[in-house]
Symmetry: C2
Subunit: 358 residues, 2 copies
């Protein structure tokens, strides 16, 4: 199958998607770049098959459109793409925050937000790599108006690019990212701002501070937009941190080694729990779900499974020829997770069968 993929904005991220899609024979790739001077380089590195002069021409016959731009430009870009794209085209993006964008785009069933968790400190199509998304988590934020067929096509492309798609509500994505990504950046900034005196006194950058401030001051324009589009969740996370640090100061201030060690040990338990959230290599089970083929069904399923903590390793949609109903195949790793998934789907009122695949 060769789809037509349009990439709007061909830099590190868009370029890596284009390279991977072309190397894996997944799609014919049309690129659009705001700066026409960049067109030649996109072609030279092999990120696209051709460059279109306008967004409208790039998306005209596309099956999938990926908007790659700064967070504040995405809503406008997605709207232009949706206006120009056909009725059977899915439009997505790669922005780091999702709620503001998803709300701005509204209820078009063709738009599904996205956020691949991979990037680099470099930028530009010249740094693009076909393996950038290999094994990376890639969040998708369908909502109740999203088309199941289009969601299926998008998550299939993400899987085929080598990444691991996961459905999550936009608001939930942003709140979680505030804690696991945006807050670590705030902490790194604070350590960098606070660390100079100590570093000057010590006559060199200590390894712990070097590691802890690696992301400090990362691209100010990009992070100005990430923080501002997710300011409520980030501020809430900071307030919680302040309370936690005040408690830490009280414990350390006690100068009681045993009490401090107990706090340190509790952090070790949390750290181990964080690592344990990665899926282990267990046998994959196949769930087959019969559903009415209507907008939102697939998104509802994917979101419910995501909420239940079920990791979907693969998914496929088989609508009946008249599109009135369909079967969804879902693959889940591990017996316990599969049972949980089956129960969760049954709770939604769908018929589900479960068998071990491999």
């Amino acid at each position: 199958m060769s789809q037509r993929l349009a990439i709007l904005g061909v830099g590190l991220i868009g370029g890596s998607i284009g390279l991977a899609a072309r190397e894996r024979g997944l799609a014919e790739v049309t690129g659009f770049v705001r700066n026409p001077a960049k067109a030649e380089e996109c072609l030279k590195v092999g990120a696209v098959d051709r460059i279109a002069p306008t967004i409208e021409e790039a998306v005209a016959d596309a099956d999938v459109v990926v908007c790659c731009a700064s967070v504040s430009s995405l809503a406008g870009m997605a709207q232009v793409a949706l206006d120009a794209a056909g009725p059977d085209c899915v439009v997505t993006d790669v922005g780091s925050t999702k709620l503001e964008l998803v709300e701005a785009v509204g209820s078009d069933q063709r738009f599904i937000g996205g956020h691949p968790l991979a990037g680099a400190e470099t930028a530009g199509v010249s740094n693009a790599r076909a393996d950038l998304y290999e094994g990376a988590r890639w969040y998708l934020t369908p909502n109740e108006s999203s088309s199941g067929v289009l969601y299926d096509r998008l998550q299939r492309l993400v899987t085929d690019l080598g990444a691991r798609p996961k459905a999550i509500e936009a608001a939930e994505h942003d709140q979680a990212m505030a804690v696991v990504s945006h807050l670590p950046h705030v902490f790194a900034n604070q350590l960098a701002i606070q660390g100079r005196t100590g570093t000057e006194r010590l006559g060199g950058l200590a390894p712990s501070l070097r590691d802890a401030t690696r992301v400090a001051g990362a691209n100010p324009a990009i992070w100005g937009e990430i923080f501002s589009t997710n300011h409520e969740a980030v501020v809430a996370a900071i307030r919680k941190s302040v309370a936690g640090l005040e408690a830490a100061a009280e414990i350390i201030g006690s100068a009681d080694p045993a009490r401090i060690a107990a706090w340190q040990a509790s952090a070790a338990v949390e750290r181990a729990a964080l690592s344990g959230t990665e899926t282990a290599g267990e046998a994959t089970h196949h769930l087959r779900v019969l559903v009415p083929n209507q907008p939102g069904i697939l998104a509802e399923l994917a979101l419910a499974l995501g909420r239940a903590g079920v990791n979907i390793t693969d998914m496929s949609l088989d609508p009946t020829p008249d599109m009135s109903s369909g079967a969804i195949s879902i693959w889940v790793a591990g017996q316990a997770e599969s049972d949980k998934a089956a129960a969760c789907i049954a709770d939604l009122g769908h018929s589900v069968s479960l068998d071990e695949a491999s």
Copy 2:
């Protein structure tokens, strides 16, 4: 020259010092281990030439004694070593905090605190490596009662082990370490404690949180002692962080991308300044200083240069045969640093000559 080196406590740190000293032909190494069952392994990995059954026997004829134990055990161990060691033996340690220890040991001119900035997440002599201290910073905390001859011998050994010695006051060391090392550990703990909800929602550990929590919950027993012996400075650092985070929350809460980007850019400036504190590869200059040979002179010089931000790349002491006066050679990288060093030494009332070495 073959010195006699005694290592009290032969684990990862002591074992690596022993391995490096033996591989580089610097010293004959005698080890002492509390647990006699560990003796054989110390010999097998080549960390020591022999194991002594008591601290007294280990230090009996030593030129240098290195105490390697948990922070709370160091004062007792150093005192036993000082009581048993000869009048011309220098006793040092490798603990992460210095003031409490230096104050506990008191004014013995043979004791000079130490802290090599290298370690690993592993422990035990089986993980010892001859190159653990290669290029690593190694702080020494002489005070006004420290012997110049013994300081010279110790910093020479540290240099010969491949590390980069630097003199610093114990109090200053602890205050600076509170910011550059202990605070990053507090931050990592807080992120680990706070990160679980977000990680569970996202169904996996995001790369930013994984990196930011790498040191979270590190060895609770060791860190219980580090935090408790440096509690005042750590609590002060946390209080400053809390104020900084509250300011960050106010800026991010404004949801003004430009204002947030300006804050982000200020963190980038600080981050660049941190990296810039590393010495660049400049020509080395040689300073020759004539001084009366009395306790504390060398420590005074080394500390004054450290305070002035001068990085000493090498140092050598040449007392006159009657030990009544001596010349100290100091090597400093870069013209500006050398001029600053010469001015700083002249301010202390010593005669100094400066010429370029290479």
